[in-house]
């Protein structure tokens, strides 16, 4: 393994999480980087779907926005935005939804709407929901990629923009949601996965050189760990080269 940054560790592991996916609904930013990396490494056939209307986009460079021209030019099909949400997302036919977040709680519920800043200041306004609520509800499963800090990993969300596992196991079924919900949160420190009994996200892996205590200190709730906390495989030279080629392009 070459020297690599925490963000590179996060992105490489996020790409690896797509190993079993055929189709991926991609949010812009870190999810798009990871999904494109997967196409250049572990899943060359991965079908990338962008909410702007591109089904099967094959960008050669990372798009800055979700509506970059290359997404349409390289897509298998371009559809309208209503069709994308109704015919493609809402039906549950997309394997993986890949999301970022501003705040995340222990059940992988997501806030991207506003963050309270105390009694003397107005809440900090975030961009809002975008496609995330229905991606989180309707994809076969959800991956979340997010830098690990107590600012992001919070004890209680100020607003639930997109549902993860609600208040715990069984909530998604009670709500009649189609997909299994979040199955992994991949950070720059390690990976959290839901406890099979409670659906609370617990630390299952740390990246090479990261300690469990460091991950705990970066988490705003009392982070539990799996019985055995593994260490993620270091990025291969091929993975790093592919990632760097992508982000440099």
């Amino acid at each position: 393994m070459s020297d690599c940054t925490p963000d590179e560790l996060m992105t490489v592991n996020a790409a690896r999480a797509l190993a079993g996916a055929r189709t991926c609904f991609v949010g812009i930013g870190l999810p798009s980087t990871a999904a494109n990396l997967a196409r250049h490494t572990i899943r060359p056939d991965l079908v990338l779907i962008y909410e702007s209307g591109a089904l099967g986009a094959k960008p050669t460079r990372l798009p800055l926005s979700i509506g970059d021209g290359e997404l349409a030019e390289t897509a298998d099909a371009v559809v309208s935005v209503p069709e994308m949400f109704n015919y493609w997302l809402q039906t549950g036919r997309i394997d993986v939804g890949f999301l970022g977040a501003a705040q995340l709680d222990r059940f992988a519920n997501i806030n991207t709407t506003f963050v309270d800043r105390g009694p003397d200041r107005p809440p900090s306004r975030l961009p809002g929901a975008g496609g995330a609520p229905e991606i989180a509800a309707n994809c076969g499963e959800v991956l979340i990629v997010l830098r690990h800090s107590t600012r992001n990993f919070v004890d209680k969300l100020h607003f639930i923009t997109s549902i993860g596992h609600g208040s715990g196991r069984g909530d998604r079924e009670r709500l009649g949601l189609r997909g299994r919900g979040p199955v992994a949160v991949i950070t720059d420190l390690g990976i959290l996965r839901p406890d099979p009994e409670t659906s609370e996200f617990v630390l299952t892996d740390v990246h090479p050189g990261v300690t469990v205590d460091r991950a705990r200190a970066a988490t705003g709730w009392p982070l539990r760990t799996a019985g055995h906390v593994g260490t993620t495989e270091p990025p291969s030279d091929h993975e790093l080269a592919a990632l760097r080629a992508l982000t440099a392009a």
Partner: protein, 274 residues
């Protein structure tokens, strides 16, 4: 039938104080030039609708022309916040901004209902989120066949929809292609439709991915080459990502923003902004 107009004429005729206006475009084909013309004419007290309010809505909001925003994602794509939007929401500057906030799926279906002449649309959405509780345009309906409860969203029917397209012919038939987003629905849901186009051609040739709006549903067409800049027009221009990045520091500061609007929109008739 469609009138071919200059942009100032078309904006003055179609858009009035207090109107509800949708200027759609999903990153692609955003009608910036028309938005700048609204700023120049000082048309105010607007309710703006858009799935992805982008820099053009940041400019309209910062210019104090907007009283309400109906939207689903208000950011500078790939860059960060819309600072004028945040300043209006957080601090009421230059005026308070009322919000009606949805998800993309909800907004898309609100346009579909509007374009379909229905008062509402049904979707599998919002469940388990705090969004429904904050909007009076989100409700539920029960399936009369299965008993399942689903989300309902109220139709959107703008007074005016403004879009940018590649081409129109002399009869006002319009064709756009590439990522065409929700523009057809936004246009068909509206009372009046203004389309700015890169060029006016003798005859439209059908294009792969082409979306055609017949002239009889278009109120006015104005030829505005580059009218989507810093957004882009597939086949004519590429997205000016540098401008989107440059907007961040300009828009963070009220004075810088005001000076920018003065220099680039009000004083220049939009020349610098194209």
């Amino acid at each position: 039938m469609t009138e071919i107009r200059t942009l100032p004429e078309a904006v003055a005729e179609l858009i009035h104080d207090g109107d509800t206006v949708a200027m759609e475009g999903f990153t692609h084909l955003i009608p910036f030039a028309a938005g700048h013309e609204i700023i120049r004419q000082g048309i105010t007290d607007l309710t703006l609708i858009r799935m992805t309010p982008d820099v053009i809505y940041d400019q309209l909001i910062g210019a104090g022309l907007v009283k309400k925003l109906i939207f689903s994602w208000g950011g500078n794509p790939g860059v960060g916040s819309l600072h004028r939007f945040r300043d209006a929401v957080e601090n009421g500057w230059p005026r308070p901004l009322e919000l009606d906030e949805h998800s993309h799926a909800g907004m898309a279906n609100r346009y579909v209902a509007g374009a379909s002449g229905l008062p509402f649309a049904v979707l599998r959405g919002y469940r388990g989120t705090d969004l429904a509780g904050r909007s009076d345009t989100i409700s539920t309906v029960t399936c009369p066949f299965t008993g399942e409860e689903l989300a309902a969203v109220a139709a959107l029917n703008p007074d005016v929809t403004v879009i940018h397209a590649q081409q129109a012919d002399r009869d006002g038939n319009v064709q756009m292609w590439g990522l065409t987003g929700v523009q057809k629905e936004a246009a068909l849901a509206a009372e009046r439709v203004l389309v700015t186009v890169e060029e006016i051609v003798d005859e439209l040739s059908p294009r792969p991915g082409g979306v055609v709006l017949p002239g009889w549903v278009v109120t006015a067409v104005a030829r505005v080459p580059g009218g989507a800049h810093p957004s882009y027009t597939a086949g004519y221009s590429v997205r000016d990502n540098d401008f989107y990045q440059a907007w961040d520091p300009i828009s963070r500061d009220r004075d810088k923003f005001t000076a920018w609007v003065q220099a680039n929109i009000l004083a220049s008739e939009g020349v610098l902004s194209r």
